[in-house]
């Protein structure tokens, strides 16, 4: 779908995701000018060398001046702070009659971010929360890719206060970057990601800890760890600051997901202690069936995308 095109896009936090959005906006001619805001000048230099931004600044006023698209793409707590500061600076944004500035974010948790926007941003701007389900193993603007969002799901989280037109504009932007849009309430989004994203991350971290403990007794541990272990712990290499923010802004749902998971493990442990082969096999077979279904569904989606439907 053809998106609106913007005069000046401000990317507040041009890390992997922010830089990829900058690249995609420029490659698809969706923004005449892309400006990045970061705390460190080196981040801006890297983003500029990567072609993700035209210019960079460490001053938020300079980034927002004349912008008609603002993307908050910093870690969650920093994004909340940036939204609050933007609230008192909206008069600096581009004023065109009949076309409000569009503001969105890319945070991994949504309820607290959307609440901050509701509290801080006036009705004269369009805000919709967003979460592109894309990423890479390595962080930083140097790993940004203009095609990062192609075929990915981009969750948008309107509330009952969000105007239909704001939703349409958010959808058009995400689709113009190549994504499939999914609308969810901030609360349902946060519940789902607590299970399919935040829980796997914590499992990966805990597994790395268990293996490191074992390795302190048996140094051969790392030689024995094969591809399955590496797959399961890959997530734990991500940024601790970023994930601390995710945990702190989605505490309740994540803690509940961890509690439910612990209960499931308790059951498995009992089957193991009692050598209940039948119960173990039933759980293993059920998971296999579900995982194969998921894979088939995925192949189907890829095929549909390839067929251009």
């Amino acid at each position: 779908m053809q998106g609106e095109s913007y005069e000046k896009a401000a990317i507040l936090g041009p890390g992997l995701i922010g830089a990829s959005i900058g690249l995609a906006l420029k490659q698809r001619s969706l923004a005449r000018q892309v400006v990045g805001l970061a705390r460190r000048a080196s981040t801006l230099e890297t983003a500029k060398s990567a072609g993700a931004i035209d210019s960079g600044t460490t001053r938020i006023e300079e980034a927002l001046e004349g912008a008609d698209l603002v993307v908050f793409a910093a870690p969650v707590l920093a994004t909340i702070e940036l939204i609050e500061r933007t609230g008192s600076l909206v008069s600096m944004l581009r004023r065109i009659p009949g076309r409000r500035p569009l503001l969105t974010d890319t945070s991994s948790t949504k309820a607290e971010v959307v609440e901050a926007a509701r509290r801080s941003l006036p009705a004269e701007v369009d805000f919709i929360g967003g979460h592109p389900m894309a990423g890479g193993e390595l962080p930083g603007p140097e790993h940004g890719r203009g095609d990062l969002f192609v075929g990915a799901t981009w969750v948008l989280t309107p509330t009952c206060d969000t105007a239909q037109e704001t939703i349409s504009r958010g959808k058009a932007l995400a689709q113009a970057l190549g994504s499939r849009v999914l609308l969810l309430s901030p609360q349902v989004h946060d519940e789902i990601v607590s299970v399919v994203s935040h829980l796997p991350h914590l499992l990966s971290v805990a597994l790395m800890g268990e293996a490191a403990d074992l390795a302190s007794r048996h140094p051969e541990t790392w030689q024995v760890a094969a591809s399955g272990f590496r797959d399961t712990t890959r997530l734990s290499a991500s940024s601790p600051e970023l994930w601390r923010d995710v945990c702190l802004t989605n505490c309740g749902p994540i803690a509940d997901a961890v509690a439910a998971f612990r209960q499931r493990l308790e059951e498995m442990e009992a089957w193991l202690r009692q050598r209940q082969g039948r119960e173990l096999e039933r759980a293993l077979a059920e998971a296999q069936r579900q995982r194969i279904e998921l894979k088939e569904q995925e192949s189907h989606v890829l095929q549909t995308l390839r067929d251009g439907q």
Copy 2:
């Protein structure tokens, strides 16, 4: 390293691993003839079409007749049964003065298999337990690859009763197939794999279960599940029968690993409920450091292999 070459290799259970061994033996001219034993004729047909065996049989006597290399490569419980049956059929193996038949296995758990061999096999054969740390996402002889073991760790598990010569012969075989050999006692092997292989598998299964529960309430779950979720649950697509056997022959160590893991999660849950950002960040940073170290170690090993050192 140049391995001994064998007249007739019997692969008892030519699945992914057994078929890959057959292919590697033939490609490297380490066996003049490779015979496969399976319960189903269709498995033998597939293994033969894949070039992994020269001929197949469903009768163990026919497979063992004149063999000087026997590889037990069935699921663990079936392997134990095959070892017991072979114990009463050793007279059928090839008799060359001064060169005993070599018997080994590829099971994922070692203590019970090695104990079955000690109980069932007479001193006139050389037995050493083995576990090549290699595999693939898809099971079956059609996915076998002659280079599956190149660069992989192949654990051998001698006991205090294993002769030095038997260890040397086992090493030569694994190295001739391209592996790096690691010697561990069956007990230490089982403890290590309970943490780096069996625990990740059960985590993958339990996570798939949690996500499926959530999806029954929120069907959008699968659209939100990104590559991190797919990586963490990939293992759960493996064969339930095979993994049931693994669980049943390594119950104690796996149950202990699950218990330790549950405790670690309990701690994380408390940090989440109390919003202890500092503790969470410390655990996340520690895991990141360990995971990056593991990756660097891996790159170093790959570089060393590439340099042919």
